[in-house]
Amino acid sequence: MAKMKTNNEYSYMDSVHRDGRIWNLSMMVLLMAFPVVVGLIFSAMPDWAAVGKGLLATAPMYWAVGVIETITYIPMLGAGGSYLSFVTGNISNLKLPCALNALENAEVKAQSEEGEIISTIAIAVSSIVTTLIIIIGVILIVPLTPILSSETLKPAFDQMLPALFGGLGVVFVSKNVKLAIAPVLLMLILFIFVPALNAGTVGIMVPVGVVFTIVYARIIYKRGWL
């Protein structure tokens, strides 16, 4: 019986990977087709020299960051959550906190099959709601623009990340004080005293924080301090 359950679990995870691959590669083709179709409809060729220059200025950094982000986020997002998140984007500021909160509330481990299900559900719902809200925003863009761009509300939306990580941080840090103390201190020192570190570079610092915390965790785990 236990053997049968194991086989079922593997076949479910296999099907997640199979379906995820089909979806993501299809989405990639669809996204790449968009500029081609627009060019064909409006009989317009891209300025290839400008494409080359633009890619040279943009792609190397974002590809490097993209590779590191992919490796960093997959273990946290789970399989289904990864396939979805890397299509819908806004991972660190929305999908991952949403999945973390769901795992915490459901009291399941991320690596268990229940965790895989909970995080995929949270990320799928978050993706659907985000997409629908953006659609509503696009439809109502004329009346919404003066409200959402108002000087009164601007400070609130400017501070979304500090508000999000204040709530999320207090839960995770308080439950893992020994594990959190060194990485939090390191990041505080780096972000306060290195001028190059700011909102634009926080994405690059996530893998740095993760690698540092893993190494630190391994050391204190081996020494029995946890």
């Binding site: 990977h17 995820g20 996204l31 968009f34 500029p35 409006f42 317009a44 891209p46 300025d47 494409v51 633009g54 943009t58 974002y62 993209g66 590779v67 490796i71 997959i74 273990p75 789970g78 399989a79 990864s82 819908t88 984007g89 500021n93 929305l94 949403c98 909160n101 769901a102 690596q111 559900i121 949270a122 799928a124 719902v125 985000t130 997409t131 953006i134 959402l148 400070p155 609130a156 979304m160 990340l161 500090p162 508000a163 990580f165 204040g166 709530g167 941080g169 959190a180 939090v184 780096l190 972000f191 306060i192 001028p195 570190l197 926080v202 740095v208 924080g209 993760v210 915390t213 893993i214």
Partner: protein, 261 residues
């Protein structure tokens, strides 16, 4: 056909892609819920996960709408709608579009009202190709990484749990650090005014705003935890994060008025 950044055909094409994105999300949602039933998971827990995720998403999604509005001034509505619904983020899209415009010897602002179809396609290609990594890399790596984690768990369960916590803490620590990144304005400012490298002017105390917003959100989250324990309000568990986030964001309004932007 005459081109315009808000041509109906662009909305139609973007609509097709957005529908596919919605279909992928719905597919994985249904697949996971079905699997939860097969495993005999508590369906109340599943319903709570759905409701909480939906509520939690509202505020960040509205901030994405603001990013669409911001980019729409130079690129029209259709392209920012697509780019911010699929993969993108405001900071990335603005940089990619600016680099593509620079490749054409222009600034993005030069293209407002003057966007040709060729310039539009050029910008689209740069934006799309530069951000594609995750979409094709996840199919290549996800199974290997997940299998590696499963074998880790079998070898040493305690270390596997610690590793998972370390991943989350590492990510959170980077964002906690980021909240303090403008604190140095306190001692770098001259006569209470700080000017950054781009010539933007800020008050010396403006770097305290994100720190205090984070503290407000953390205190509210802690209070929610306290109330859950004291009054046995278990329901609050599902809403604590959205409540702390929204109240934290709202606290930024008086804090900015007090400390200066």
């Amino acid at each position: 056909m005459e081109f315009s950044v808000n041509h109906p055909i662009l909305f139609l094409l973007v609509g097709v892609i957005i529908t596919a994105v919605l279909a992928q999300s719905a597919y994985f949602l249904v697949k996971s819920v079905k699997r939860a039933r097969v495993l005999g998971m508590d369906m109340t827990k599943i319903r709570k996960t759905i409701v909480t995720a939906a509520i939690f998403t509202v505020a960040p999604a509205v901030s994405i709408v603001i990013a669409v509005i911001s980019l729409s001034q130079s690129l029209g509505i259709a392209l920012p709608w697509l780019r911010l619904s699929v993969v993108g983020s405001l900071s990335y899209e603005a940089i990619a579009a600016a680099n593509a415009a620079s490749g054409m010897g222009m600034k993005l602002s030069d293209l407002v009202g003057n966007m040709t179809a060729s310039a539009y396609v050029t910008i689209m290609i740069v934006m799309t190709v530069s951000i594609m990594v995750g979409i094709w890399l996840v199919p290549l790596l996800a199974k290997k990484i997940q299998s590696g984690l499963v074998s880790f768990e079998k070898k040493d369960k305690k270390w596997s749990d610690t590793l998972q916590n370390a991943l989350f803490i590492g990510m959170i620590s980077a964002f906690v650090g980021y909240v303090f990144c403008d604190l140095s304005r306190l001692w770098l400012a001259q006569d209470g005014v700080y000017v950054n490298g781009d010539g933007e002017v800020f008050s010396a105390t403006s770097g305290l705003i994100p720190v205090l917003v984070m503290v407000v959100a953390a205190v509210i989250m802690a209070l929610c935890g306290l109330m859950m324990k004291l009054f046995k309000w278990k329901w609050l568990n599902d809403y604590a994060l959205p409540i702390s986030m929204v109240l934290g964001m709202l606290s930024a309004i008086p804090l900015t008025a007090l400390l200066g932007g």
